[in-house]
Structure formats: structure tokens, C-alpha cells
């Protein structure tokens, strides 16, 4: 097919004795042919397949991890996991009810700190877009996103554990809130900045104050985007281990004793339980670590999926 088209093209431009050189002279039309026998085309097609293969290869670990979690963690899944305390060495059975509650409480406390600060900072960034402070804050938030989680733990250890004299849920929550903050700031800012300017201007034109505009127009309109940020931050915080290792430490007991919840004592969390139990030479503990990993990944994935579904409302509505 290509042979025909090339020969017809050459007939269209007859050779002339004109001073203008023929622009197509010396062009090897066969080389422009789209055929796998041409090195150029072959190279392109092969690289396309290589890239496709690498992408799917990169996804294998995700499915391998999920498969192992379901296979090894699923065996132990039972109600007892959620209601019982971690077993002592060589003891059979047991669960990690206290660790789930500990994780939820610490992530909740961290959210209480970082959500208001993060959203209002996002409001400031979106409103005072071009001010010098806004530029610096935005840069600081971007640098904080890559802040190693263990250093947040070191900070909370210095600022809370050493200051209050003991490991506590509060120290863990403060370490987690530092990690949640930048995500919430940056997503709230972009969500608020995406609110159509005419809505904001209409609100101001009707005489609303800045605070009224923010509360009644900007925040409700930007809510899906802000919630996405919060969900992603919660998902990240729930899975963090390093900042909890030496701030909340671990505990084999329930957080509430004698009907009172004491947040100033060492607190168990799922992530630290997985770390501690994975290094133990007892089969029961290793099984619990796998089951704990399954529960933790389910929690994290659910928050992630909620966040991702909120961030693409236009596609899901159609």
C-alpha cells in the first residue's frame, strides 16, 4: 500500500530545470514508511511496549501485598481480634482491640489540631494569594510534605515527652498532626482557589464581610476538595509508625481504666503493633501482625478511596 502512495507522490512533482531546488530531492520516501521493518518505527513500538510493561510491573507489588494480606491476615480475621487485648509471649489467641481504639483516638486528636489550622491557613493562602507571607507559607507547606515522619516523632519526643515526663497519646497525636498539616493546607488552598471568582465577587458585592464570604460561599463550595485533603491526611496518619514509636510507645492494656480515659499514658496503635509483633519469634504474634496489617490497610484504603471519589465528583455524577 505504501509503495503505491510513494510512487504516485513522485509522479505528482515532475523534475524541472528550474533554479529552485526540488525540496523533495534526496528524500528517501521508503524511510518515512510506517512499518515495523523500519528501525525508527520498530524502536518506537518496542519502547511503547517496554513502558507499558514497566507500568504494570510497578503495580505488581500493590497486588502482591494485598494478596498476602488477605491470604495470611484473613485466616485470623474474627470478632475476637477487635475485642481482645494483645497476647503475652507464648499465649494463644488474643486480638488488638486496644490498638484500633488507640489509632482512632490519636488520629482523631491529630485531626482536631491540624484540620482547623490547615483549613484556615488554606483560606489565608487562597485569599492573600500574592502576598509575600503567602508565598513563604506555601513553600513551607511544600517542604513539610517531604518532612521525614520520624523527625516529627523526634520533635514530639523533645517537645512533649521530655516536657511532660512520659510517653502519651497526646505526644503521638501532636507528631501525627505535623504530618497531616501540609496535606490539608495545600489541598484546601487549591480547593478554595478553584471556587469561581464570580461567586466570591457576588458575595462581596452583596455586602457580605470577608468572614461571611469565607463561611457561606467559599468553604461550602470548596468542601469536597477540602474533605479529600482531610481524608488523604487521615489515611496517611493512620498508617504512620515512625512518629508513634517513641511518642505513644505501646501498651498492652485498654486506654480507659476504671471508666476514665487517660490520654497521658502510653497508648497502643495498630502500626506499632505490627512493627513489634513482626519481630517476635512466636507464630501467634506474627499471625496477629498480618491480621493487624490487613485491618490497617483496609482502614487506610477506605479513607483513600473516599478521598479519591470526592475529588472527582464530575466524573462520578455523570
Amino acid at each position: 500500500m505504501s509503495e503505491n502512495s510513494i510512487s504516485s507522490k513522485q509522479e505528482l512533482i515532475p523534475a524541472q530545470d528550474s533554479p529552485v531546488p526540488d525540496p523533495l530531492e534526496g528524500v528517501n520516501f521508503g524511510e518515512l514508511e510506517l512499518s515495523l521493518y523500519r528501525p525508527r518505527t520498530l524502536f518506537s513500538v518496542i519502547l511503547s511496549w517496554v513502558v507499558a510493561a514497566m507500568t504494570f510491573l510497578a503495580l505488581i507489588p500493590l497486588f502482591a501485598v494485598l494478596w498476602m494480606l488477605i491470604w495470611r491476615g484473613g485466616q485470623r480475621l474474627s470478632v475476637a481480634l477487635f475485642t481482645q487485648l494483645p497476647p503475652a509471649p507464648l499465649e494463644q489467641g488474643g486480638g488488638f482491640g486496644n490498638a484500633i481504639i488507640g489509632t482512632l483516638i490519636m488520629v482523631g486528636l491529630a485531626g482536631l489540631i491540624s484540620v482547623p489550622v490547615g483549613i484556615l491557613t488554606g483560606v489565608f493562602l487562597a485569599q492573600a494569594k500574592d502576598s509575600k507571607l503567602a508565598g513563604t507559607v506555601r513553600f513551607a507547606a511544600k517542604v513539610l510534605t517531604g518532612f521525614p515522619s520520624i523527625l516529627a516523632g523526634v520533635f514530639a519526643y523533645g517537645a512533649v515527652v521530655l516536657a511532660t515526663g512520659g510517653f502519651s497519646a497526646v505526644a503521638g497525636a501532636i507528631a501525627l498532626s505535623i504530618l497531616m498539616l501540609p496535606t490539608i493546607i495545600l489541598t484546601s488552598e487549591s480547593a478554595i482557589a478553584m471556587v469561581p471568582a464570580k461567586m466570591k465577587e457576588a458575595s462581596i458585592g452583596m455586602g457580605a464581610t470577608g468572614a461571611q464570604t469565607v463561611w457561606m460561599v467559599l468553604l461550602p463550595t470548596a468542601m469536597p476538595g477540602i474533605l479529600t485533603g482531610i481524608m488523604l491526611a487521615v489515611a496517611r496518619a493512620a498508617g504512620e509508625t515512625a512518629p508513634l514509636l517513641f511518642t505513644a510507645l505501646f501498651s498492652n492494656y485498654w486506654l480507659a481504666s476504671n471508666g476514665r480515659v487517660d490520654l497521658m499514658q502510653p497508648t497502643a496503635s495498630l502500626a506499632v503493633l505490627i512493627y513489634n509483633f513482626s519481630g517476635m519469634p512466636f507464630a501467634n504474634q506474627v499471625e496477629l501482625a498480618w491480621a493487624g496489617a490487613l485491618v490497617l490497610v483496609l482502614i487506610v484504603l477506605i479513607f483513600n478511596l473516599i478521598g479519591q471519589s470526592l475529588s472527582h465528583p464530575q466524573i462520578h455524577q455523570q
Binding site: 525508527r40 518506537s44 519502547l47 511503547s48 517496554v50 513502558v51 507499558a52 514497566m54 507500568t55 510497578a58 503495580l59 500493590l62 501485598v65 498476602m68 489550622v117 483560606v123 489565608f124 493562602l125 507571607l133 507559607v137 513551607a140 511544600k142 517542604v143 513539610l144 517531604g146 518532612f147 521525614p148 515522619s149 520520624i150 523527625l151 523526634v154 520533635f155 519526643y157 523533645g158 517537645a159 505535623i178 493546607i185 455586602g207 464581610t209 470577608g210 468572614a211 461571611q212 496517611r236 493512620a238 498508617g239 509508625t241 515512625a242 514509636l245 512493627y275 513482626s278 519481630g279 501482625a289 496489617a293 490497610v297 487506610v300 484504603l301 483513600n304 479519591q308 466524573i315 455523570q318
Partner: protein, 353 residues
């Protein structure tokens, strides 16, 4: 129907309003609240900057006693012996940089490949061709299928980053290490003279740690590189195709060079993430105070050192560990600030075009 009835309700409500009540300037309380709210937003924004300063100072001040005692020798000596009060973190610094660099090499190869695959709309194209083959194209039910599959693939890559690092550590410990051990030991037997294979893999070691680390930083590199590739002006691509370039001549000659700053920024941020990653390394790298280039030897990193020693640190160990934390903080802050600056300049250049 619902919207009409809602509109009627709103209209009825507006009709019931007393104009004198709503057409009024903000009350003193409203104005005071507005001012207070603005100041609150400003304070929280300023707090974010102060927070970074506080983080740095808190860790630095706690390290002062150790800095006075050990000075710079702490950074280039190699013994870590709490009983003799001898501390040096050169093996940890080396381990941190070595594992992160290897992970970045692997992670960016796969990450950039995935970014190209996702930004070139290969999948959507393939699905569209498949549908067309069965004469199914342009039907409202599956007309969105190519877009949705691309979105699904992008989200799946992002989910790689969502799996907690402790779970990757667990997986590496019980799945990866037993799996790669025979191959590693075979390599050691055949090519033991080669420095990279100079020891056997007897359990945790550099290679499993690097393997898991590269999986963890891949989504960062993919997401940022994909953004950079997508924001290349379409006319450049069209011009390349118009000149007769094949798809990969376009990608290698036009798209990648144009997006190179963004991709480089993504790789630097991925490197920063690898430097600070803790749990997977604490579980997989072996925690051996050893200067090694062998892929199969146990080693240690700064973050893993902190994770292992902080929980039962005695008061006199704390300044030493804080000193190690300062070193890690300095390395990661420099890398992260550099990465953020590169990305900011890349974004500025893209806007200027």
C-alpha cells in the same frame, strides 16, 4: 421537580423577609468578627512557618550537649558503642545515602516510565481501539470507559503510596527476603569478586530494603513527572508529529527535554522521601553498624538508627540521638528545599511560555 419546589421555597422565604432587616451595613459585632477571623487566618499561616523553625530549633537545642562533646568527629567516625560512650554515624550516613540513591535509580526508571505511559494515553487508546474493533465505539454506556480506565490506573499507582510503610516492611520481611535469598546467594557464589555481591544475604540486607524503598517512592516520582509531561504545550507535540517524528522521537526529543525540570524535581523529592523513610528500612536493612557497598550485607540508616534507639534511650543517650536527628534533618531539608525550588522554577517557566 425538586429544584423547582426548592426555588419556590426560597422565593417564599425571600418574600417574607423584612427589607429593613437585611439591607443594613454589617453590625459592629460582624465587623469585629470579620477582623478577628482575618487575624486568626493570618496567625495560623504564620504558625506554619514558625512550626518549621520550632521543629529545627527544638531538635538542634537538644543536640547541643552532644555537639559540644563529640564535635564534628561524630559525623566521620564509625563506632557506635554506648557502653564506651563512643558514637559515630558515618556508616548510617553512608547507608542512608546509598540505599536512597539505589532506590531512586530504580524508582525513577519505573516511575518515569509509568508517567509516560499514563500521560501518553496509551491505555485509553488501546481500549478505544478494542471497542472500535467490535464496532462498539461512541456509545454513551462505555464511551467514558477509556477515560475511566486511565483514571483507575493513575489511582492504583497512587495507592502504592497509600500502603503504610510498616506493611511493606512486614511484606518484605516474610515474602521478599525468602524469595530473593536463593538468587542473591547464587550471585554471591558466582560473582563474589564483584563488590556489590561480596557477601551472602543471610536475612535483612540492603537489597530488600532498596527494593521496598523504590516501590514506596515510585508514586511520588510518577505523579510529579506526569504533571510535568501533561503540562507540556500541545503545540510542541503537534509540531514534532508534523515534522514526521515517530511517537518516541517526540517523547525523547521534545516532551522529556521540555518536562525535564519537573521530572528532575520529582526525582529529587522522591530522593528526599527515601532519605527520611523509616519503618521499611528499620525492618529490612538489618541494623548493622557497617560501612559496606555489598547489596546483600546488612547495614543501617539514620532513620532506622533513631527508630531503634529512641524508645529505650537513657537520658545521656538522648543528646547523641538528637545529634543524629539533626544530621538527618539537615540532609532531608536541603534535598527537599532543593526539590521544591526546582519544581517552583519549572512551574514558573511553564507559566511564562
Amino acid at each position: 421537580m425538586a429544584s423547582i419546589s426548592r426555588r419556590a421555597r426560597v422565593r417564599a422565604e425571600v418574600a417574607s423577609w423584612n427589607p429593613g432587616q437585611i439591607w443594613q451595613p454589617p453590625t459592629r459585632a460582624q465587623r469585629w468578627y470579620d477582623g478577628a477571623f482575618r487575624r486568626l487566618c493570618f496567625t495560623f499561616a504564620a504558625f506554619t512557618i514558625l512550626l518549621i523553625a520550632w521543629l529545627v530549633l527544638e531538635i538542634a537545642f537538644r543536640a547541643v550537649p552532644a555537639f559540644r562533646q563529640y564535635g564534628l568527629g561524630f559525623i566521620y567516625s564509625t563506632t557506635w558503642d554506648p557502653n564506651k560512650a563512643q558514637y559515630g554515624i558515618l556508616p548510617e550516613i553512608w547507608g542512608t545515602l546509598y540505599t536512597s540513591l539505589l532506590a531512586v535509580v530504580i524508582g525513577s526508571a519505573f516511575g518515569v516510565a509509568a508517567a509516560i505511559f499514563l500521560s501518553e494515553r496509551y491505555l485509553g487508546e488501546a481500549v478505544f481501539k478494542g471497542l472500535k474493533f467490535f464496532n462498539l465505539h461512541l456509545h454513551p454506556i462505555w464511551g467514558k470507559l477509556p477515560d475511566r480506565l486511565e483514571l483507575l490506573l493513575k489511582n492504583l499507582i497512587e495507592l502504592l503510596a497509600a500502603v503504610p510503610s510498616v506493611v511493606y516492611g512486614l511484606w518484605g520481611l516474610f515474602v521478599i527476603i525468602p524469595m530473593i535469598r536463593p538468587a542473591c546467594n547464587w550471585l554471591h557464589e558466582q560473582f563474589g569478586w564483584f563488590p556489590l555481591f561480596s557477601t551472602t544475604l543471610s536475612g535483612p540486607g540492603v537489597l530488600p530494603a532498596v527494593f521496598v524503598l523504590s516501590i514506596m517512592i515510585l508514586p511520588t516520582i510518577t505523579a510529579i513527572s506526569r504533571d510535568a509531561l501533561v503540562s507540556v504545550p500541545p503545540k510542541l507535540r503537534m509540531a514534532a508529529y508534523g515534522l514526521g517524528a515517530t511517537r518516541w522521537e517526540t517523547i525523547l526529543g521534545v516532551l522529556l527535554p521540555t518536562a525535564s525540570r519537573g521530572i528532575f524535581g520529582g526525582i529529587v523529592l522522591g530522593f528526599g522521601r527515601a532519605l527520611g523513610e523509616t519503618m521499611a528500612l528499620a525492618m529490612l536493612v538489618g541494623n548493622a553498624n557497617r560501612l559496606t557497598v555489598s547489596l546483600f550485607s546488612p547495614a543501617n540508616t539514620l532513620a532506622a538508627l533513631l527508630a531503634n534507639n529512641f524508645p529505650e534511650a537513657s537520658p545521656k543517650d538522648i543528646p547523641v540521638l538528637m545529634y543524629a536527628a539533626v544530621v538527618l534533618l539537615a540532609i532531608t531539608l536541603v534535598v527537599n528545599i532543593f526539590g521544591a525550588l526546582v519544581l517552583e522554577r519549572a512551574a514558573g517557566k511553564a507559566e511564562a511560555k
